[in-house]
């Protein structure tokens, strides 16, 4: 019975129709807008003030923390690079992780890049599901988590339990005979959130000041970013495809 329910939920969440991200249905827009307003309030009163204090740290310190967080993220990227068939990238990621965790002192420094091992694409389980052909489903905003979709939400949950860093901190696995404990996990995730927020203070203030409909601006940016991550595209080439036909109509 449980399996049937799970399969049914899966089918409802991921309808089989292919949907281009910009036309993604916003099935519960009024609820999403309420959650969006809630998240903005949480950000305004809790997250942004901490991020502003964090930005007082010298650039070098923030850069090292950013390096260490990216290094830890490798534990999520590698299994997903393998699941997506990017074995070459997985080998580079593992090599980078080994070098930066040791010579780079727990990832605070990035000697791997200096040795010619360039950063690989960041992968998560939501991207893997997309590569496997599973559609977004409806656009959604989750309290505290922000913009998402059923596919990305499932990806996040699977991503937590499939993350080696989670296993050796909150889980019962060990690294060098030690379990690092819950505190290490939550401090790392909290720092990751503040680090990300601190890098986007100016741009988010600009959006708040200049957007005519902030909710749809964030929706568009989230969907474009996810498209870029899925296609491993960092530049404008991802924008040529679907939008190119529209540009051709403009004389």
């Amino acid at each position: 019975m449980k399996k049937t329910l799970l399969a049914f939920t899966f089918l409802v969440l991921f309808n089989s129709k292919t949907i281009y991200a910009s036309n993604l249905p916003d099935c519960s827009e009024s609820i999403n807008r309420s959650f969006f307003a809630f998240n903005m309030a949480v950000d305004k009163y809790f997250i942004k003030p901490i991020a502003e204090i964090y930005n007082v740290l010298p650039v070098e310190a923030r850069s090292s923390i950013n390096n260490a967080l990216l290094n830890i993220e490798t534990t999520i990227s590698v299994p997903n690079q393998i699941l997506q068939g990017n074995f070459g990238e997985a080998v580079i990621s593992i090599s980078r992780f080994a070098i930066n965790s040791t010579i780079g002192i727990l990832g605070l420094f990035d000697p791997a890049t200096a040795l010619g091992l360039e950063k690989t694409n960041r992968e998560d389980f939501g991207q893997t599901l997309a590569v496997w052909g599973i559609d977004h489903g409806c656009y959604a905003v989750a309290p505290f988590l922000g913009p998402t979709s059923p596919r990305d939400l499932v990806g996040r949950i699977v991503g937590i339990y499939g993350d080696y860093f989670y296993m050796v901190t909150t889980g019962d696995k060990t690294v060098l005979g030690e379990n690092l404990g819950d505190t290490v996990y939550w401090v790392t995730k909290g720092t990751d959130l503040i680090n990300f927020r601190s890098q986007n203070i100016k741009s988010s203030e600009n959006l708040e000041k200049n957007s005519l409909d902030l909710y749809s601006t964030y929706k568009s940016l989230y969907l474009q970013r996810r498209e870029n991550l899925i296609k491993n595209s960092k530049r404008a080439e991802n924008q040529y495809g679907a939008s190119e036909d529209d540009w051709k109509k403009i004389k």
Binding site: V59, N210, L212, S216, S220, S233, K234, Q239
Partner: protein
């Protein structure tokens, strides 16, 4: 045999001609981006300008460098074909003012940053993407910015900025589409008027 050589020579020359033409279009687009950003930087770094003078100068730049009517048309999305010419005229006028005020605020933070041209690529007959990197010494950040440059009758005009893979034109279009879906075209006009009055 002689005919064959002539034929090969002709095709070779034609290929070189086309390659050179395409290459020079890309070089021109890169020079265009450098000129545009240098002129914009001069305005943002001129502390003697008040807000009104700065907006006026930015408006002058936009006439020479930006294809704002095309951008306005693109951001209207599906409604572009339904709008009457009076609606389009009214929208274009409001959009121009909104865009310049919006950019004035957005680009102010980038005035002290350095821009480096990385490369450029002609993606079709009229469009060239110029890839640049912007360096911020203060934040130790590097930002990838791609410029969509449209060439028409040997004149170049910028149509879109893609910052770290995020298109400003597409974001704007999706924002307008959302407003049109909930409040109609009048909602967009109303939102633009309110913004322009309050900024």
């Amino acid at each position: 045999m002689n005919f064959l050589y002539k034929k090969i020579f002709f095709y070779f020359s034609f290929f070189i001609f086309l390659s050179f033409k395409s290459y020079s279009a890309e070089v021109n687009a890169e020079t265009f981006v450098l000129k545009l950003t240098n002129e914009a930087k001069l305005i943002f770094n001129d502390k003697s300008l008040n807000l009104e003078s700065r907006l006026k100068k930015l408006n002058d730049i936009s006439q020479n460098y930006l294809d704002l009517d095309a951008l306005a048309g693109y951001t209207l999305g599906d409604y572009r074909d339904k709008a009457t010419s009076a609606e389009k005229d009214s929208f274009n006028k409001l959009f121009r003012e909104y865009f310049i005020k919006n950019m004035s605020s957005k680009l102010n933070d980038f005035a002290d940053q350095e821009l480096k041209i990385l490369d450029s690529k002609k993606i079709n007959e009229n469009n060239i993407i110029v890839s640049t990197k912007i360096f911020s010494k203060k934040d130790a950040q590097e930002i990838n910015v791609d410029w969509r440059i449209y060439s028409k009758e040997s004149k170049l005009l910028a149509r879109d900025l893609v910052v770290e893979g995020l298109s400003l034109a597409r974001t704007q279009r999706e924002e307008f589409a959302s407003i049109i879906a909930s409040r109609g075209f009048a909602g967009v006009i109303n939102a633009l008027e309110t913004f322009n009055k309050s900024h």
